[in-house]
Amino acid sequence: MKQEILLGDEAVALGAIHAGLSGAYSYPGTPASEIMEYLIRHSDGGKNYVASWAVNEKVAFEEALGTSFAGKRAMVSMKHVGLNVAADPFMNSAITGANGGLIVVVADDPGMHSSQNEQDSRYYAQFGQIFCFEPSNHQEAYDLTREAFEISEKFGVPVMVRMVTRLAHSRSGVQPRPAKEQNPIKYGKGKEWILLPVNARRQFKILVEKQKELVRASDDSDFNVLSLNEKNTSLGVIASGIACNYVYENYKKTEERPSILKVSSYPLPEKKVDILVQHADTILIVEEGYPFIEKSLTGMFGIHGKFVKGKLTGHLPMTGELSPAAVRQALDLAPLEKREIGDFQLAGRPPQLCQGCGHRDTYDALNKALESYAHSHVFSDIGCYTLGALPPYNAIESCVCMGASVGMAKGGAEAGVFPSVAVIGDSTFAHSGLTPLLDAATVDTNMTVLILDNATVAMTGGQPTFASGEKLVRTIEGIGVAKDHIRTIIPLPKNLEENTRIIKEEIDHSGLSVIIAARECVQQARKKRS
């Protein structure tokens, strides 16, 4: 088979296809979106396997779980914060166990390139007591995804594949291997899947008892590579995933390297860790994300007679992304010579709303409408329109998590905020805005919700949405918002005055209003034309 040029995300997708994938589900989110995009492109319209965007990560997870129940191989992929949304089925899938292989791909975003936090998904894997792989390069992303299905079916547990932005969005050559057939249908057993306490207690015990076997599987895995340098007993390094690359990068000659344990799976390979720790006096832990391995090793009291260093000891930064230079310093190597820009002020170039984007016109109208109020608060949400936080708009005051704008506007209104405005996109609304709007409609909260309907998931590259146009209007009616206070505006410069008036009217209405600002995303319109 020919080598292929793939993004790390795409290598995961191809690994899953070649492992005999039957069903894959996801919700778009940087840096994980390209996994599903690749799967959809290669599914031959669903003839090869099912590859589908879901309305949110929880739904995606449950769809994958249903596929696993049927004995078939399933994958669900998402960005790190997506797993918060899917945490309920995630935790409980560890209790039911996997029937067909079930893989949870979570792409973490250390450095917050396109996210609101840098939570480390390895804690979720540990929390659920499941197995987790952490690839360090593209070939491993492919190989370990295939291997993950084997482990999942062997031990009957879901397996996490933890990616990070740098690998997800880096391209390299990958050597694929011949594909496996898909599993035949084989139903799950009720006593495993009906999590009534009587069954759940037994299932949980089974999961706990599996833990020793999972540790053994890690120790047996060839992907956890222990290389001892017999001449150097002063320093030993434990490095996981792409962090290990930064260690290798800093030694031009292999023989100069200290002893290194490259960690690619969790629970940690205890025997291999023990050999390394016994071999060296000082242990440096290098990992992308939180100090997960470091804390596992040192606990509260450290390791007697050894010096363990890493993020907790300040030898590596606790926040942000690692780099070859940061790791170089922790390895006590002389820094590389680099040029300085001197006194020159490098003007920043933040991202901004596209020229001609309808969100610009919505914010122009909203800002104008709010001018006449002494106080106001605009709760916003996750999407392109979050860029309304930046000049020249400075139009929003919050952005927390998917759907938070609506719930926060209700809570704010009930605490006395007026006007209390929520701004949310059509896809984010379908993902997590429906349920809080149902709350607000039930008690007719005095707040105004602006749904910016551009008919796509724009920020992540234009994936399809579930509630746009007429369907969106009918959904809002169905939730119980008064028909007279569901208004639609077309955000164009020529409509500025009319739109401002409509927004003001609905703010002044004492009760719940929903204004839909409907205009196609300019990027999508451009794609359609070309």
């Binding site: 940087t30 391209r171 792409i242 930064y246 780099s323 010579e337 300085e340 020159f344 170039r349 901004q352």
Partner: protein, 209 residues
């Protein structure tokens, strides 16, 4: 695993680390596509870290592109080790100066993309680039227009970088063709012309370097 290509000894110690930079929407990923594919064809290993998501909306974007006859570990180029900064925009060149190796080369566009209110004095930006011993400045806007397509500045800059790349010219031209073929023969020709104009301009400056 590396595919069959030139013999091991021919490739001895071939390595090139490049920082590609520009503004979201200027097409630096198209430059990367051509270089990646040319590298694979010539039997080199490569890694190319790129930016997706939020920054693509008119913000500063960069891509770390590493080519080697050997294994490549880090997806990121270490600061102080880049053999080249290839930038489609002058200010975006300076943003990554700390990555450039002492003997590294800058191949930069002199045509500013002004979408921020506090864009520095262009003369100052240009003179800072010129202060680097090995630097080439290309009026990519004028050359792209000359080629017949204002948006082909990225291919002008790829052409300008080509005399310095460890890749065969023929491979680069092949993958420009592959990249633009779906959009018709005319688009291919215009982009190849942009590439050639950039290359000629760089060679002219290189002789004076």
């Amino acid at each position: 695993m590396r595919p069959a290509g030139p013999k091991e000894e021919e490739l001895d110690k071939m390595k090139q680390d490049i920082i590609l930079s520009g503004v979201g929407g200027q097409g630096i990923l198209s430059i990367a596509f051509v270089i990646d594919n040319a590298a694979l064809k010539e039997g080199l290993s490569f890694k190319q870290a790129e930016v997706h998501g939020m920054a693509q909306r008119g913000g500063a974007v960069q891509s770390h592109l590493r080519l080697s006859s050997d294994s490549i570990f880090s997806d990121l180029v270490p600061q102080g080790e880049a053999d080249m900064i290839l930038s489609v925009e002058p200010l975006e060149t300076l943003r990554y100066l700390d990555y450039l190796a002492p003997d590294g080369v800058i191949v930069a566009s002199s045509s500013p993309f002004v979408n921020i209110p506090n864009y520095p004095e262009l003369d100052e930006v240009i003179s800072r680039i010129k202060a680097v011993e090995r630097s080439i400045l290309i009026d990519s806007e004028a050359l792209a227009k000359e080629a017949g397509f204002a948006r082909a500045q990225n291919m002008v800059m790829l052409g300008a970088a080509s005399p310095f790349l460890i890749l065969k010219e023929e491979s680069l031209r092949d993958y420009i063709r592959v990249l633009f073929e779906p959009r018709g023969e005319k688009v291919v020709d215009v982009n190849l012309k942009a590439y050639q104009l950039g290359r000629d301009a760089a060679i002219q400056q290189q002789q004076k370097m």
